[in-house]
Amino acid sequence: MADATNEELIGQWKNQPAPLLPLLHAFHDRDGYLSDDALRAVSDGLKTPLADLYGTVTFYHHFSRTPGGLDAPRVCTGNICCMRGGNEILETLKAQGKAAAEMPCSGRCDEPVPVLTGHTTLAGTSADNLKPTPSPLPAPYPGVNEECLFSNIRKEGHNTLEGYQANGGFSALTKTLSSATPEGVIETITASKLAGRGGAGFPTGIKWNAVAECDRHPKSIVCNADEGEPGCFKDRTLMDYDPYALIEGMIIAGFATGAPRGFIYLRYEYPETNALLERCLAEVLEAGLLGNNIQDSGFTFHLYVRRGAGAYICGEEGSLLNSLEGKHPFPRNKPPFPVTHGFEDKPTAVNNVETLCAVPHIINRGADWYQSLGLGEHAGTKLISLSGDIKRPGNYEIPIGLPLKTLLYDWAGGPLEGRSVQAVTMAGLSGGFLGHQILDDLTLDDPCIRSHGSFLGAGGIMVFDDTRDMVKAAHDAMAFFAHESCGKCFPCRIGTQRLTERLNSESDNLSHEAWTEEVNDIGEAMKATSACGLGMAAPNVTDSLQKYFPDQVEASTNN
């Protein structure tokens, strides 16, 4: 569509569902940035107020308002990439005269450092060896139990329709449409104890049931593929290597809840995934597994990919829905919850990629099987994205309840030679740090992790070895939250800024006592009063820093 006119682009998208983001992307792709003229045309075409549109566009990190912005290299300066030379790459590229800019963690912590240029992910360890690189596959299963999500993922050709079907793909859908009832599907999912794998851990069956019971139409299934949490890259792997499982899971979710449409809200930083999903959807539609009257079952389901534009907060479901609807992506006030008032105010199941990908497996092999995959009382499996100072970073599918030690040392090879693990993060960054003091007894399940004041979340674990400055790590983490704070609520908007300033030892001249009091007062207010999880979780960083590394804090505040 390089030569498409404004009118053609608007005509193409105007009557599509959730048209704003794809239309903006169409202009962004055509022109290489979003010009005033483009915004005027979109405002006019979608009858959305121009000022609103302008504000919304400026909210997103990756919508460029200057010519050439789309193709400017954007270098990941997330926590892990900073440890792997992200800043140096950025400086080198700038020195080479490129309009390079930083970007927050872009989900390649297993193979740093990614540099996004146009719609291509380059990766390399220095500015000289950047090259287009597909995302890494999970390593062969190192465990003793059975995998679920990754059971087929390493098979050659599994991310083609043919390959997927050869491995039994779409049999769950066929089975569902031919012999199951929506109630039956929900019963199975409920019995499996599958719970939200994006981090909130809400039981999937109960969520679907709430949507199914609502009598307001049309309902929607929204897949939260806005994997923005630093240190998390598991959904990327699922979508890159098992995309049809997601599609199949969503169609089944639609059947179970009575939703005739679904959206995959994909983070901007996965351009290759975006292209792949678009291709897969076209194939599945062509094969009659999607669209009107699927396999003559009378069930109709339409599925759309919508690409985000760079905003961590859009992983929060209220923000995501606002973003999808073309509104300013502030979180929504809850209640009401999306199950009753979601996309376009209609009942909506918002599920994570990992959750939805588990669905076909559960349908095929049964609720008891899935439940039994966990250790002890824990049901099922969880994907963990492991990164940082560890020999074999990558995605691992663990039985829930696995000792952290097993994952770190047996599966991932432990820290680099001669080093020891000083701390790990939980839930990417949102769970803050867990210090070496407690790691030996930790099991990877929420009851255990929560007893230490943290949570498993989406399953991102970054490892920091004994050479790392934990105050600096905390600063970088807080700087990320400050950068991503949407600005809706006071405690988060001001708090993340003030905490970042206080973690920057160079610019802070408070006494240790005053520092502690200020940081803890801010943290307390943020945790208790923030409007969404971002602001509530950010103080985990400062809390855990003080808890496990009081000496480093004191050293940094006394200089």
Binding site: L50, G55, S485, G487, F490, P491, I522, A525
Partner: protein, 365 residues
């Protein structure tokens, strides 16, 4: 409402706030009910004409059985809820939040001429003793002094990102002239492409100014009288322009009219005004005003005279016409702009004075 179907149900819903039990109707928020019970819950992002936003988080309250405090403005009451609006823990966090807010602004105390709600921040900061100077750090917002419009000062250095301005423009005015650009601490209230207000969809109704709780958006015209020493006095009246009949408070310092503010209780406007009601009051004390009666001289010029002479001259013309042409030669035109008393007197003047119905007003124009 004669037949309110909810009234029966409403009696059954009850909530306990600070130990006081009360009934409420479905859909009411904790904040609304608390306000009814005269609980003074602090807030900076609330304007009861707008959808509750839940941004400032000052209105959080403790609800029994819920771990975290909830924003009372966005939380609907449910039956049997037990709420504490000001336990010490919450009050401490409110103080912290206010100290945080105070730390991002250059100025907390602003002239009340800036706008109707302009004292909200300083009032709360005083109430909570939040002038501590804690949390020093970067300031947010960039003041736009380039915008030369004569009505609205855009002093965003005092902005606390409550978005009342943006929301009032969208929800109340339906103009969508201003927006929230960027995000987080870099948030900036602006128009599309950072243009001047004149080049946006702004209609200069001034609603953003009047709802701003810090005076970041301020009434430039009123601020011209900032230096006058007298106290501001407000007089409730009704706008003199179109027939919507918006209630308005005229602000005076001594005998000088210094500004206008909308009356939130105005039955016809509920706090809304347009550019005319908000900003065009200064014709009243304009130098062109007639000060004395005038009588036209033979050469066509006017001569200032005393009232007595003027009334006699006015009356004589009518007496003469009646004598010469009869009472049907006289006609009166009343004003659709003057008050009832003018129109009533005029028609009575014609009907009682001359016994005719030679009376009309300007509605045929």
């Amino acid at each position: 409402m004669i037949n309110d179907p909810n009234s029966a149900i409403a009696a059954d819903l009850s909530i306990t706030i600070d130990g006081q039990s009360t009934t409420f109707s479905e859909g009411e928020t904790i904040y609304e009910i608390s306000k009814r019970l005269q609980r003074d819950i602090p807030t900076l992002c609330y304007d009861d004409r707008l959808d509750a936003f839940g941004g400032c988080r000052l209105c959080v309250v403790e609800v029994e059985g819920i771990r975290n405090p909830v924003a009372s403005c966005t939380t609907k009451a449910s039956d049997g809820m037990v709420v504490k609006t000001a336990p010490p823990k919450i009050e401490k966090m409110r103080k912290t939040l206010l100290e945080m807010v105070a730390s991002e602004n250059r100025q907390v105390d602003v002239d009340p001429l800036r706008g109707l709600a302009s004292q909200e921040l300083s009032t709360l900061v005083n109430k909570y003793g939040a002038r501590s100077g804690r949390f020093a750090g970067a300031k947010s917002g960039t003041t736009n002094l380039q915008d030369a419009n004569p009505f609205i000062l855009r002093d965003y250095e005092q902005c606390i990102s409550c978005y009342r301005c943006v929301r009032v423009c969208a929800e109340q005015e339906g103009d969508y002239a201003i927006t929230v650009a960027n995000r987080g601490f870099d948030t900036q209230i602006t128009t599309e492409f950072n243009n001047d207000l004149r080049d946006s969809d702004c209609t200069f109704c001034g609603q953003c100014v009047q709802t701003c709780p810090t005076g970041a958006l301020a009434d430039k015209k009123a601020l011209r009288s900032e230096e006058l020493p007298e106290e501001i006095k407000k007089t409730r009246t009704v706008c003199p322009y179109c027939a919507v009949g918006c209630s308005i408070d005229l602000m005076t310092k001594g005998d000088k009219i210094v500004g206008a503010q909308p009356a939130m209780e105005g039955p016809a406007n509920k706090g809304a005004l347009c550019i005319k009601g908000q900003f065009t009051y200064d014709f009243i004390q304009h130098e062109d005003r007639l000060k004395k009666p005038l009588i036209k001289q033979a050469d066509g010029s006017f001569k200032e005279v005393e009232w007595d002479e003027a009334l006699k001259a006015a009356a004589k013309g009518f007496a003469d016409a009646r004598a010469k042409y009869g009472r049907h030669s006289i006609y009166g035109i009343a004003s659709g702009r003057a008050p009832h008393e003018a129109a009533y007197s005029m028609q009575k003047f014609i009907r009682a004075g001359f016994g005719t119905h030679h009376i009309d007003n300007c509605s045929r124009a």
